[in-house]
């Protein structure tokens, strides 16, 4: 900047002549959610430019997918958004089923909803806790993990794994629920519901938290759409878009009989199906607070969905149905399907040459698009706002780098 001023005589010199600094935030940094590396250009505390550098977690997942059968690749989807592995499984499974025009049983559909929404809660809990950590408060993180542990216990009981489940698979699920599971799940929901108010007290309505998030990193709906943001990041800017409602038939059919309202601010207010804290006066639609708040709403919404799914699942008689064989051939052609994952719209694309092994596999990661907008949001903010903004985007590097 100094150089520019020297060159341009029209601009009067101002302030202390300062030099800019390039600082590396990450890949080893406490608040970059894995191995993200942000290069910050700062003038003192003010950040003038942020450039994310990615790829530290690249594992050639898509290439591997072109060498495995469709069902064999399921464990690799687990490792994309490892915080919401169920949703990843579902996305891939549905994409394959779309190509194969395969219809799973109704019971399996409801079980899938149940599991996926439960995992959404788990994922948002991590997002929320980690966001507190980004803002310097430690305890909510552990409160969130405490509850997440209970969900993981349920998952463990259902499929034997706590992180990489591979539970939902092409053509259904690997196994039905063990007996007594639903009771435990309902007990968990019962116990979990009041705890959300604690989270609101600790974070959502906390004065310091509001100060740190309100009116920070404001993203206009246009900007969000321009950058292809999706999920809570998009809805935090007030865009009413949810794949569960607006997606393709094969996906929306799952949620057909479910009552839920998309968690987005419409006409100046959020859905009023539950009691939520009021929006603070400082908050502007599209800022970090709103992105965070949308996630908190979705937790409640997912609980409703889980409850409904339990009812519907128990109402379904008959068998769950077996998943497809590992070597089941796919018809030649291609399919692309986006599902609503906790982080946003996760798209899977596959091209088949008629064998069981896809000819091409590609994934469209929501976190990737969401991270791309950080560079716009962080312009002119303070260093302390960078974790606040990046945290509010709630990215997972496994999904971005694949």
């Amino acid at each position: 900047m100094a150089q520019m001023l020297d060159d341009d005589p029209r601009i009067i010199e101002f302030d202390v002549r300062t030099d800019e600094m390039l600082v590396n935030m990450g890949p080893q940094h406490p608040s970059t959610h894995g191995v993200l590396r942000l290069v910050l250009r700062t003038d003192g505390e003010v950040v003038s430019e942020v450039e994310p550098h990615i790829g530290y977690l690249h594992r050639c997942a898509e290439k591997i997918g072109e060498n495995l059968t469709h069902r064999q690749w399921i464990p690799y989807t687990d490792r994309m958004d490892y915080l919401a592995a169920m949703n990843m499984n579902l996305g891939w499974a549905l994409a394959v089923e779309k190509l194969m025009k395969y219809q799973v049983s109704e019971k399996a559909r409801h079980l899938r909803v149940l599991i996926v929404e439960l995992n959404r809660i788990a994922s948002h809990l991590v997002g929320m806790g980690a966001y507190g950590l980004d803002l310097g408060t430690f305890s909510p993180f552990l409160y969130a993990f405490r509850e997440r542990e209970k969900i993981l216990d349920l998952f463990e009981e259902a499929c034997g794994a706590r992180l990489t489940y591979s539970y939902i698979t092409v053509g259904g699920l690997t196994a039905d629920l063990p007996s007594g599971w639903l009771v435990k799940c309902e007990a968990f929901l019962e116990q979990f519901e009041p705890i959300i108010q604690e989270y609101h007290a600790l974070l959502t309505t906390n004065a310091i938290f509001v100060k740190r998030t309100a009116n920070i990193g404001v993203m206009s709906p246009e900007l969000a759409i321009e950058y292809g943001c999706s999920g809570p990041v998009l809805r935090g800017s007030g865009v009413d878009q949810d794949m569960r409602r607006d997606g393709e038939a094969i996906y929306t059919a799952m949620y057909d009989s479910y009552a839920f309202e998309v968690a987005v601010m419409k006409d100046g207010h959020y859905p009023r199906d539950h009691v939520y804290p009021a929006v603070p006066a400082d908050a502007v639609l599209g800022d970090c607070w709103h992105r965070f708040f949308v996630r908190m709403l979705e937790v409640v919404q997912s609980m409703d969905l889980v409850r409904q799914a339990i009812d519907r699942y128990s109402a379904c008689k008959g068998p769950l149905g077996e998943p497809l064989k590992l070597t089941e051939k796919m018809p030649a052609g291609d399919a692309y399907l986006e599902t609503e994952c906790p982080k946003g719209q996760m798209g899977f694309y596959l091209v088949s040459d008629g064998s069981a092994i896809p000819w091409r596999v590609r994934a469209r990661s929501s976190s990737f698009s969401n991270l791309a907008v950080a560079h716009e949001l962080c312009r002119g903010c303070l260093i302390a706002d960078v974790p606040a903004i990046v945290g509010s985007l709630d990215i997972v590097m496994g999904e971005i780098d694949r």
């Binding site: 302030d15 202390v16 002549r17």
Partner: protein, 125 residues
């Protein structure tokens, strides 16, 4: 060995004799001269500032020494409170001076992109 001891003995007086005003004056003189030399030698404006601080501090040591009731020997009258109060004022003014001088330095840096006082020769004849 005796020679060594003998040469050490006069210095031992320093820790056996009570301190007098002159002791303090010596300290003050050293601080003062350090400050002057610092001002004369440093090309860094901040160094010059530090020199000024040292000079003022040296003067303060003298004031305090003259004010101190401890240090007065026979036949001399302490400045009493006046010395301390003046030293106090000197400290305050030093702070003021530092503020202004820093502002000047900053301005100089803004205009010349350096704090080298040798570059501050705009008034050179």
């Amino acid at each position: 060995m005796n020679i060594v001891v003998a040469s050490a003995v006069p210095l031992l007086g320093l820790i056996t004799e009570p301190v007098s005003v002159a002791h303090y004056l010596v300290v003050g003189a050293i601080l003062f001269v350090s400050g002057v030399v610092c001002m004369a030698m440093k090309r860094n404006a901040l160094g010059v500032l530090m020199g000024i601080e040292l000079v003022l501090n040296g003067a303060n040591v003298n004031f305090v020494a003259f004010a101190s009731p401890y240090l007065q020997g026979e036949g001399s009258r302490s400045l009493g409170l006046d010395g301390q109060v003046i030293a106090l004022f000197v400290i305050l003014l030093a702070a003021a001076e530092a503020a202004v001088a820093l502002a000047i330095t900053l301005n100089f840096y803004n205009n010349h992109a350096t704090v080298d006082v040798d570059r501050a020769d705009d008034l050179k004849g």
